[in-house]
Symmetry: C2
Subunit: 151 residues, 2 copies
C-alpha cells in the first residue's frame, strides 16, 4: 500500500473544486466522495459559493435536509431547465384539486343515500373505481403557482 500524507480522501466538493479538504470543511459531511454527481449538480445550478453561504446560514442539524433539498432542486432543474421542480408542484396541485372535487362529488352521493335518495348506477359509474387515475398524470405544467408561497 502506498503511504499518504492525509488520512481521508477529499469530499466530493473539494475534489470537484480541486482544493484541499480541511477538517472543518462545510461541504464534507454532506458531499461524500462516493457521490460526485450530487455536488456537481448543486454547483452547476446554485454555485458552490451560494451553497456554502446557505449552509452557514442554517443550523448544523438542518444542513443535511438543506443539502438534500438543494440536490433535489438541482436535479429537477437539470432534467427540466424550464420548470425545474416547480413543474412537480403544478402537477401535484392539479392532482389535489381533481381529487378534492372527486371526493366532494362522492360524498354528495353518499349524502343523497343517507337521505334515501338513490342515484342510478350510471351516476356512480362516473367515479367508482377511478381513484387510482389520479396517479401518473404528467402534463406539461402551466406554471400554476401554489398560494402558500405568495403570502
Amino acid at each position: 500500500m502506498a503511504s499518504s500524507s492525509y488520512s481521508n480522501p477529499p469530499c466530493a466538493a473539494c475534489k470537484f473544486l480541486r482544493r484541499k479538504c480541511m477538517p472543518n470543511c462545510i461541504f464534507a459531511p454532506y458531499f461524500p466522495p462516493e457521490e460526485p454527481q450530487k455536488f456537481a449538480n448543486v454547483h452547476k445550478i446554485f454555485g458552490a459559493s451560494n451553497v456554502s453561504k446557505l449552509l452557514h446560514e442554517v443550523q448544523p442539524h438542518q444542513r443535511e435536509d438543506a443539502v438534500n433539498s438543494l440536490a433535489y432542486e438541482a436535479e429537477a432543474r437539470l432534467k427540466d431547465p424550464v420548470y425545474g421542480c416547480v413543474g412537480a408542484i403544478s402537477v401535484l396541485q392539479r392532482q389535489v384539486i381533481r381529487l378534492q372535487r372527486e371526493l366532494e362529488a362522492t360524498n354528495a352521493d353518499l349524502n343523497r343515500y343517507t337521505c334515501n335518495e338513490m342515484p342510478t348506477a350510471n351516476q356512480f359509474g362516473r367515479r367508482i373505481g377511478h381513484a387510482n387515475d389520479s396517479y401518473g398524470h404528467h402534463q406539461t405544467p402551466g406554471l400554476y403557482y401554489p398560494s402558500q408561497w405568495n403570502n
Copy 2:
C-alpha cells in the same frame, strides 16, 4: 424634460449589476425595472451568471416560464432556507396520498351501498364533510421526495 443619452431605463438586472443595459440584453425582457426584487432574489439564490447560462440554453419562447419558475424557487428558498420549494412538494404529496385514501374509502362505502350492504351513519361520519380538511395542512416537511424526478 431633461434630455437623456438613452431612451430606456436599464432593466432590473443591469441596474442591480451596475452595468449598461444593451439592446440585446438577455435579462431585459424578463426583469423589468419595476420589479427589482425579482432579479435580486434569483441573483442571491442562483447567481446572475447561472441564470444567464440557463436562459441561453432554453428556447426564446420558454424563457419567460423559466424565469418565473426560477423566481418562484428563489423566493421559496429565501422564505424557507432549509427546504425551499421542496417543502411545498412534500406537503402536496402528503395531501394527495390522504385524499386518495379518503376517496378509496368513500368509494368502498358506495360500493357496499350498491351491493345493498348499508354501513352505519357513524361509519360515514368519519368522512362526510371532511373534504376541505385537506387544504391548509402545513407541517414541517419530512423531505418525502416525489418519484417523478427519480427516474
